[in-house]
Amino acid sequence: MVTVTQLVQQFQKSYWTQTPLQLKLIDAYLVAIMLQGVLQFIYCLAISSFPYNAFLAGFGAAVASFVFTASLRIQVNPKNTEYSHQAPERAFAEFLVCQLTLFFIVTNYIG
């Protein structure tokens, strides 16, 4: 009988040993972005959404970044064979273009 604790331990062990460093980096980045989004949302609910454009820009930037980074993770993950025909550099380049466009929009919108 496998307990929940054992399950978590097994997951942690296999994550630390089998996941490539690249993906770990991406995961750390994703967690950071998510924290930012959550903090902004709490601030908006608790204090004020008054410059609503600023909230939309800040929160939207976090969400969009999260989506782009998650896409990058899917594409560079060697386990996902459907992307094996394309180089991870291409995925990274797409990621760069998307993020830079996003930041351009955010800067304009945040006021």
Partner: protein
């Protein structure tokens, strides 16, 4: 007789030179239309005419059926004021119809019209156009409780009384037409017909001035007439004796159901202090007629808008516009601006302009619906004008608004002032920036960009060997 009358009319017309400036605001040319010389002479209305002349009018006399009677010549209005004292006339002047009387009003002329029991033709039609329906021919106002007894004959026997010379002081509330002097004076001696207001008449344009007592009614007093239940009796406060009409262009019409109200004979007849014959006192006709004609001929209760100003007050006050032309009103406002709206009003009475005293003067900002409706408060007054103003918060709605003051009171000229003022939204670069409450969002966006740079740096320089190795 006729020759004498014409001669007299001509003489009066030429000798009645106005003494200085006319006191009416719309001109001094008055035309008095009388019936045939056998029925009435100018002398019968001597005190009334004298009153008009002393107020600066140049009075012209004409017989109702005269071909020389023209209101317009080559489309030019010949008179500013018209007094019609010929109710019996079937025909008026040189083809004057109800339509020409309405044109006269539309052109800004004022009319005092007296009706009688055999009132008909153009004048009755004209009254109908105003929403005034005179009672059936032959009917006159009767009151068996408030009347002036017929004079005793020499033998000490009284004339048969039908109580048609009635006394009334039932004025309507508005003091703009009938002033306090009349209200405190003797009752009005009245012999004539009553009328009712048609159901479709405009209550904002047609006002009752004088009605009878509840005991006053309208009836054919000739021999052999009896009241039947079929008669729809006109009576009480529904029976108007004098009504005032003010057109949309502020031209005024006074409709009176009696010619004798204006006559010297009635002016001079004393009336008992109460219904019981005690010490007689003068009646109120003289001053009442003066009030009626002063109102009709724009000598009082005329309100003028001298100026209207509005500007932004408070922190959003725009300095640039003020500097360029401090007196001009701004052409537009921003949404939610706080503005001050002021209107400068004068009221004309007693021959000069006075500061207007009005209650419940309202400002409206209208875009189809009124978005703002606020009462203007008296702010200051000078010798001739009063300023009413209010601080107003404009709505948080953009669009083309109309700033409107639309003030309509019984007896007072219609005060209407409208300005079309667009209320604009903020331009994209006019919003407030760098607000304190937005700093968390700025910081968050900044840290997102920094962490992106850091992530890219690590990604590029820290080698993607793991993936490559696995792939190979």
């Amino acid at each position: 007789m006729r020759f004498f009358h014409l001669l007299l009319a001509a003489t009066l017309a030429y000798t009645s030179i106005p003494e200085g400036q006319a006191k009416s605001l719309t001109g001094d040319r008055a035309l008095l239309v009388l019936p045939k010389a056998t029925e009435a002479k100018p002398e019968d209305y001597g005190r009334f005419v004298e009153s008009l002349k002393s107020r600066g009018f140049s009075v012209t006399f004409q017989t109702a059926t005269s071909n020389k009677l023209n209101l317009f010549v080559y489309g030019e209005r010949q008179f500013d004021h018209l007094v019609l004292l010929a109710p019996k006339a079937k025909r008026l002047g040189n083809g004057i119809t109800a339509k020409s009387l309405v044109e006269f009003i539309d052109d800004g002329g004022n009319i005092v019209m007296a009706a009688g029991s055999d009132f008909g033709g153009a004048q009755r039609d004209f009254a109908k156009q105003l929403g005034i329906d005179f009672d059936l021919r032959g009917n006159v106002a009767v009151d068996h409780f408030h009347y002036l007894p017929a004079p005793e004959t020499e033998a000490g026997v009284r004339d048969p009384e039908n109580h048609t010379r009635i006394l009334t002081d039932q004025y309507t509330n508005s003091t703009y037409i009938v002033g306090d002097q009349v209200r405190q004076g003797g009752p009005i001696l009245y012999q004539g017909v009553g009328h009712r207001h048609m159901t479709n008449s405009q209550p904002t344009m047609l006002w009752s001035v004088l009605t009878g007592y509840p005991t006053t009614y309208s009836f054919d007093t000739s021999e052999g007439q009896v009241v039947t239940s079929k008669d729809s009796l006109l009576s009480g406060s529904k029976m108007h004796l004098v009504s005032a009409f003010q057109a949309r262009n502020n031209a005024r019409v006074m409709v009176v159901g009696s010619t004798s109200l204006f006559s010297d004979a009635f002016f001079a007849t004393p009336v008992p202090s109460s219904t019981v014959l005690t010490s007689p006192k003068p009646n109120g006709n003289d001053q009442f007629v003066r009030d009626l004609t002063e109102w009709t001929f724009q000598e009082k209760s005329v309100v003028r808008v001298n100026s209207v100003s509005y500007h932004v007050v408070g922190p959003n006050e725009s300095d640039e516009k003020k500097e360029s032309n401090p007196s001009a009103n701004p052409g537009s406002f921003r949404v939610s601006d706080r503005i001050k709206y002021s209107i400068n009003l004068s009221e004309y009475y007693a021959d000069q302009w006075h500061p207007a005293q009005v209650n419940q003067l309202q400002f409206e900002a209208v875009m189809l619906d009124p978005y703002v409706r606020q009462t203007l408060e008296a702010e200051s007054r000078t010798g001739t004008a009063a300023v009413y103003s209010q601080i107003i918060d404009l709505p948080d709605v953009y669009g083309v608004f109309t700033f409107k003051v639309d003030f309509l009171r019984r007896g007072l000229s219609h005060v209407k002032h409208t300005d079309v003022v667009p209320i604009l939204p903020f331009k994209h670069n006019e919003y407030d920036r760098y607000l304190v409450s937005a700093y968390p969002y700025y910081i968050s966006a900044g840290s997102l960009m920094v962490s992106f740079l850091v992530f890219c740096g690590i990604w590029i320089f820290n080698g993607d060997s793991t993936i490559k190795v696995k792939k190979s």
